[in-house]
Structure formats: structure tokens, C-alpha cells
């Protein structure tokens, strides 16, 4: 049989055509997606990687809400210049508690994967409220409203941690129990900064530094 005669059967039978499209278009996913989903090394936390604390998790969800990923990647590629600029390159094992992933696709601003510990909390606070007061040329938006809302505003931190627990994040009952009190008195700004400060801090500090 030739491809042409097979096609002539499909184009005369809607059911067969639907099946044909479904079959042909699913091959790529079967080859790429399935094995990736079953690959254990991609869901095994690297040595220092632990689930986000209640405050960091809340901060991460604020990062998500403001779509920071639209301008900032969290992915240091294994390229010399990139490692020199940002630090050790990103490893899959560092992202196993990232739902969803925050790697981004555009660097209008710099990569943030190794931002944790690079600046003091107070710098982040000033920078988020008035970016151009510390970085002259910055084109980053200001986020003044983060100071106004308490970190616990939505009141769903325990629900979030429970959902993540069912997805396999190892939170203990005590951690979930204590979560609301961890957020007590903190603003969204505090939570976001807590998240930024933990970003990329689980890098293995072996020879993977930007050093030579």
C-alpha cells in the first residue's frame, strides 16, 4: 500500500481521519513526555533541596500572581558566561518542589535562580517599592501594594500545603499546623522576599562555581 492510497481511505472516512490524526500526533508525546514523567532522577530532590516553608511558599505564589517569570528566568544554563554572571548552573533536582516551574522564557531582567543571598532584605524591599531608587536604568514595575496586604490574606496556606502534600511534598502535620502562625504579622512583601532569599541556595557548592 502506498501512503497515497492509505490517505485516500482516511479522507473519505471521518472516523478514520480523526483516529489517524490522534495516532500520528501522539507519537512525539509518547516518546518524549512519558519517559520524562517516569524518569526518577527528574523528581529526586538534590542534596540541599527542601520544600518551601509556609512563608516562602506564600512568597512564591505572590511571585506567580505578579507573573515575575514574564521578565525573569530562573534557569542558569551550563554556559561559561552564564555561570560567570549568575553562578552554578541549574540542576533538575533543585526544582522538584516547583509547581509550576518558573524557568521563564525571556530575560528582560536578569536571571533570578541564584538571587538568594545576593542582596540584603532591605535592598529587596526598597527595590520592589521603588526600583529606580537603587537601580537607575531599571525598567522594572514597582510593587507598592505588596506592603499593604498581610501575607495570610487569602487564608488558604494550610490548604495549599495539604494539596502539595498529596502531590508528594514532604510536609509534616506539625508544619501544616504551624503554617498560619508563621505568616502572622508578615506582609506579602516579607513573604516574597523570603522566597527570593531562598532561591537557588541549594546549589551544590563544589567545583560548579563560576570560578576557575
Amino acid at each position: 500500500m502506498s501512503g497515497l492510497s492509505l490517505h485516500k481511505k482516511l479522507e473519505k472516512n471521518a472516523g478514520l481521519l480523526i483516529f489517524g490524526i490522534l495516532f500520528v500526533s501522539s507519537i512525539g508525546g509518547l516518546v518524549q513526555i512519558l519517559p520524562v514523567l517516569f524518569q526518577d532522577s527528574l523528581k529526586t530532590a538534590s542534596a540541599n533541596t527542601v520544600p518551601y516553608s509556609a512563608v516562602q511558599l506564600q512568597g512564591r505564589d505572590i511571585y506567580i500572581r505578579e507573573s515575575c517569570h514574564a521578565c525573569h528566568s530562573q534557569q542558569v544554563r551550563p554556559l561559561l558566561a552564564e555561570v560567570k554572571r549568575y553562578g552554578p548552573y541549574s540542576r533538575a533536582g533543585e526544582f522538584v518542589y516547583d509547581r509550576p516551574f518558573m524557568w521563564g522564557s525571556k530575560r528582560t531582567g536578569p536571571d533570578l535562580h541564584r538571587i538568594g543571598g545576593k542582596y540584603s532584605d532591605i535592598w529587596h524591599r526598597i527595590h520592589l517599592i521603588k526600583p529606580r531608587s537603587v537601580v537607575n536604568d531599571s525598567i522594572m514595575p514597582a510593587y507598592p501594594w505588596l506592603e499593604d496586604e498581610p501575607a495570610s490574606a487569602a487564608g488558604d496556606i494550610q490548604k495549599k500545603m495539604q494539596v502539595l502534600k498529596t502531590l508528594g511534598h514532604p510536609y509534616s502535620e506539625q508544619e501544616i499546623e504551624a503554617a498560619p502562625s508563621m505568616l502572622d504579622g508578615l506582609t506579602e512583601m516579607d513573604a516574597l522576599i523570603a522566597y527570593l532569599q531562598v532561591l537557588g541556595t541549594s546549589a551544590e557548592t563544589s567545583e560548579e562555581q563560576g570560578h576557575h
Binding site: S2, G3, L4, P78, L80, V134
Partner: protein, 293 residues
């Protein structure tokens, strides 16, 4: 990298890829090289009154195009990791390539690096290309806080271009500041001093310290009791513990009465993060040379 699929999934990947590749080749060949006569159907459909499918033979160059991309693909998958756990004839990986690039880099710049480490700060300061690089390095790593060209900013991050070095201006002290960071601990004195005390001490610092009639000032007793241990009797400061000089008219957090009262009442916790994992020896050395210039 260690992210290779196990044997089952590896076989799955290879098999499906190979079979579907063959399927694609079969499709192209069989459709492309069907004799013209066979493609002419007697009951050729006409849609919507006038739409037909033409019977032109597809151009041969298109066949060469897809053939070329497929030949390239097969060759690529033989050379590079792609077919499951087969790592390709070149044994290439992202991690290996980075290591190789780092080795090349080290070879290329090792002389320069050794030379910099061996040079005195004065020698480095005399080399314009080193100073240019150091300036870049500063702007890349330090300027977000200390401002472009290190002039300080936001009444929080000190200028590195004035005479005041809170943690000391010796090259070794600067190196410690860069490598391990600094954390200042000026406590809050509101409870101890109360509003009046804060005002008196602030005024003493502004108007009494270092003057001839300091002894008669209302704030002196409290200054000596609470502040002198760190900032010194004459307000000369102590770089060993990061206590700033109070008489040189350089005020990180502002030199107004209000700003000084604020510092005393609520304390200050200026923080410099540690950069020893972000900067290497060469970078730190030329940064110090640049800062001391």
C-alpha cells in the same frame, strides 16, 4: 548528565523514534513517487462549486530538502545523545562541554590570573584595562546597592568613595567585608533613653562631640554610658565592630537631627551579604584595587 532513561524507556524511545522515522520516509517516498497516472482519479471531487485539487507533481527539490533534514537528523542522533540512553559517538553532554570550556578558559587566562594575584594593588591600579574590568565587575555585582561608581545610595548603602570605612579600609579588612559580608548591630535605645534621652544624645552627637564645651552638654553622660563603648569617647568609631565615626560629618543614614534620632531610637542593622561564593580570588583582588584607587 545523569538524566538518562532506564533500559525499558530507552528501548521505547529508540523503537518508537526509529519506527516512526521509517514511517515518515515511507510516506514521503510512496506519495512522492506514485506514478502520475495512478493519482488521476476519475471521480475527482469538486468542493463548493469550484474548488479542486491539482494534480501537479510536487517539486523534486522539496524531496531533497526533507531528505537532507532527515539525513542530518539520523547523523546527529548517532553523534549526540538523543536515542534513549545512547549517549552518541561524541559522548557529548552539556556538563562536559561546560567543563571543557572551563578548562580552555583556565588555560587561556591562567597567566593573567596568576599575574594579577602576584601583583601589588598599586601595580593593578596603574593598569587601565584592569581598572576597567574591575569597574565592570563592581557594577555587575555591587552597584545595585552601592550605586554606580560606588557613590552609595538610598541613605542605606555606604559610599565607597569617601573617607569613611565603617569596617576598616585596610585591604585585608575590605577583603573580609567582601568575602564574608558584614552585619551591623546598632541596637534600639528607645527603651533605655526614652524620648528625652534620644533627643539629648542626638544633639550631643551633632553639636557636643569633639567640641571644647562637650563636658557641659546634657547628653554627654548618657552618650558615655550607652554609646561610648562602641563609638569611642570622642566619637571616633571602631572599625573592628563596624561602629562608624560620628565626627567626620559622613552620615550613612542621614545627618539631620531627625535621622540621627531615628538611628538611636530604632537602631540600624546594615547588612552586606557574603560574596565568597560569587566572586573568585582574582575578582576580589582587582575589586579591592579599584576600591582603593
Amino acid at each position: 548528565m545523569a538524566d538518562m532513561p532506564n533500559d525499558f524507556w530507552s528501548g521505547w524511545i529508540v523503537l518508537l523514534t526509529a519506527v516512526s522515522f521509517i514511517g515518515l520516509i515511507w510516506l514521503v517516498l510512496s506519495v512522492y513517487f506514485t506514478p502520475q497516472s495512478e493519482t488521476q482519479a476519475s471521480d475527482e471531487p469538486v468542493w463548493d462549486g469550484d474548488i479542486r485539487e491539482g494534480n501537479t507533481a510536487p517539486p523534486l527539490w522539496w524531496f531533497w530538502l526533507i531528505l537532507a533534514t532527515m539525513v542530518f537528523s539520523v547523523s546527529y542522533l548517532m553523534l549526540y545523545p538523543g536515542l534513549g540512553s545512547f549517549s552518541g559517538a561524541l559522548r557529548w553532554s552539556m556538563g562536559h562541554e561546560l567543563q571543557q570550556n572551563k578548562r580552555d578558559y583556565a588555560t587561556k587566562f591562567s597567566t593573567i590570573s596568576e599575574d594579577i594575584i602576584a601583583s601589588s594593588l598599586a601595580d593593578l591600579q596603574a593598569r587601565p584595562e584592569v581598572m576597567k574590568t574591575a569597574g565592570n565587575l563592581f557594577n555587575q555585582n555591587c552597584a545595585a546597592c552601592h550605586g554606580y561608581e560606588a557613590q552609595g545610595q538610598a541613605s542605606l548603602f555606604p559610599s565607597l568613595r569617601d573617607d569613611e570605612w565603617q569596617w576598616g579600609d585596610a585591604p585585608e579588612q575590605i577583603e573580609t567585608s567582601i568575602r564574608h559580608g558584614r552585619k551591623a548591630v546598632m541596637m534600639s535605645w528607645q527603651t533605655a533613653l526614652k524620648d528625652e534621652g534620644v533627643e539629648n544624645v542626638s544633639d550631643y552627637i551633632l553639636n557636643g562631640l569633639g567640641t571644647s564645651d562637650s563636658a557641659s552638654h546634657a547628653g554627654q553622660a548618657q552618650y558615655n554610658l550607652f554609646c561610648m563603648a562602641c563609638h569611642g569617647e570622642k566619637g571616633e568609631g571602631n572599625p573592628l565592630i563596624g561602629a562608624p565615626n560620628l565626627i567626620n560629618d559622613i552620615w550613612l543614614y542621614g545627618g539631620s537631627m531627625a535621622a540621627i534620632s531615628e538611628s538611636i531610637a530604632h537602631g540600624r542593622q546594615g547588612e552586606m551579604p557574603a560574596y565568597d561564593t560569587r566572586l573568585d580570588d582574582v575578582q576580589i583582588k582587582i575589586l579591592i584595587a579599584w576600591l582603593k584607587k
